[in-house]
């Protein structure tokens, strides 16, 4: 496991044009899902997908196996290439932390409110005269040092913790999360989410057989096109969740142990996440019409 993380880090650190470093190490550096060499007698796995968007000249696409959910054993149906700027970018854990904390806090409104000494009922009159009574001097019975008095520096009214991280930081967070999932062997690409049965037990047994972990996040492209079987199976399970591609977020990716993407989802994510690398700064919000967007 540690070797794979180190291998993934090394794969990112060494660009294509490196020299003087042994090619064998470079071969070993690719993720463990590299296909058999051509000399072997087994049938060649067809490459199901290449990167549509241009890859930088000094980097090569990362490769991953394509699996299938139709049978237990169908773990290497094909091979896909993944764009290095999305699936093999710098492992910026600080950006992951920023985005995860932002996701947790920006929706928060704390409704805690306490009464100050001015709002507590009563306490307008001086309880006893300033001098002569022998007791400490006080101005009101509702001051903070009194029992039953107001709170001095308590929470004041509904407080909003809303803030927005820059769009590019949130996009980079998604890219880093996908990179980290792939580098740690927690990312599985599937040709489509079609199941033979709608039984939730089938999904659990499949995940246990393939050692995916306790929680799996399935990501399909559109909400309307999700197959009925997988919708029924995941609705019956608590730790196996199904989201459309627009619902992918850093917190969900970190919360679930495994991430399962379909091939159309991978294309969609690459296109949307790479668009931010070569766009102008917005003159007005992107929800208003532009010449070539959306």
């Amino acid at each position: 496991m540690q070797q794979l993380v180190r291998a993934g880090a090394r794969a990112w650190l060494r660009p294509r044009g490196c020299r003087g470093l042994n090619a064998l190490a470079e071969e070993a550096v690719q993720p463990a899902e590299k296909p058999e060499p051509l000399a072997s007698a087994g049938p060649q796995a067809p490459v199901l997908r290449r990167c549509e968007l241009p890859v930088p000249l000094h980097r090569r696409p990362v490769q991953a196996w394509v699996e299938s959910l139709r049978g237990y054993e169908q773990e290497r149906v094909g091979l896909t290439e993944l764009h290095p700027d999305v699936f093999s970018t710098a492992p910026r854990l600080d950006i992951l932390h920023q985005v995860a904390i932002w996701q947790k806090n920006f929706k928060r409104i704390s409704y805690a409110k306490t009464k100050t000494r001015a709002e507590v009922r009563g306490g307008g009159r001086k309880p006893w005269q300033q001098k002569g009574s022998g007791r400490a001097r006080h101005g009101s019975i509702r001051s903070p040092i009194w029992r039953g008095g107001g709170v001095a520096h308590g929470p004041r009214g509904p407080t909003s913790y809303y803030y927005m991280l820059p769009m590019k930081v949130r996009v980079q967070g998604l890219k880093v999360a996908l990179t980290v999932k792939l580098a740690q062997d927690d990312l599985h690409i599937v040709d489509s989410l079609e199941l033979p049965t709608a039984d939730p037990q089938y999904l659990m047994d499949l995940a246990r057989y393939r050692r995916w972990g306790d929680s799996v996040l399935f990501v399909d492209l559109e909400h309307e096109d999700m197959p009925q079987n997988v919708v029924a199976a995941t609705s019956g399970l608590k730790t196996f969740n199904l989201v459309p591609a627009i619902g992918l977020n850093v917190h969900s990716m970190l919360k679930h142990q495994t991430l399962v993407l379909t091939l159309p989802t991978v294309a969609f994510l690459e296109e949307k996440l790479l668009w931010h690398d070569s766009r102008y700064t917005p003159l007005y919000p992107f929800r208003l019409p532009y010449q070539d967007f959306p």
Partner: protein
Amino acid sequence: MAATMFRYVLRGWSIGVPPGCGLRRLSQTQGTSDYPRFLESVDEYRFVERLLPPTSIPKPPKHEHYPTPCGWQPPRDPPPNLPYFVRRSRMHNIPVYKDITHGNRQMTVIRKVEGDIWVSGWIGQGPILTSGMKGQEPL
């Protein structure tokens, strides 16, 4: 007083006829019977569409001679055979910037560096880029 006003209004406008009917009847006696017609057309939206700005940055055009009059040079193709690589910014420029802190500390910042900047064969030096030997072979 109010009752006479009420009876006067009733005489002018019979019950069940919407108000303004009497006015319409007056205009009808003058000849034109319809409201002016109008035609919806979406073709003129092209005058708006050509004003909308683009979102994606275009690739720089090919010139005959480099560097261009402003001093711009495209990145070398194929990339140089070095252990590190410095990407261009999204506007296709070199990502070298000046920074100043505390009023007197001037720094040069090189962003978007990828690869091995701490070249292991370069003993005793800092990163290869800071020693001024950018692009040259390490010893």
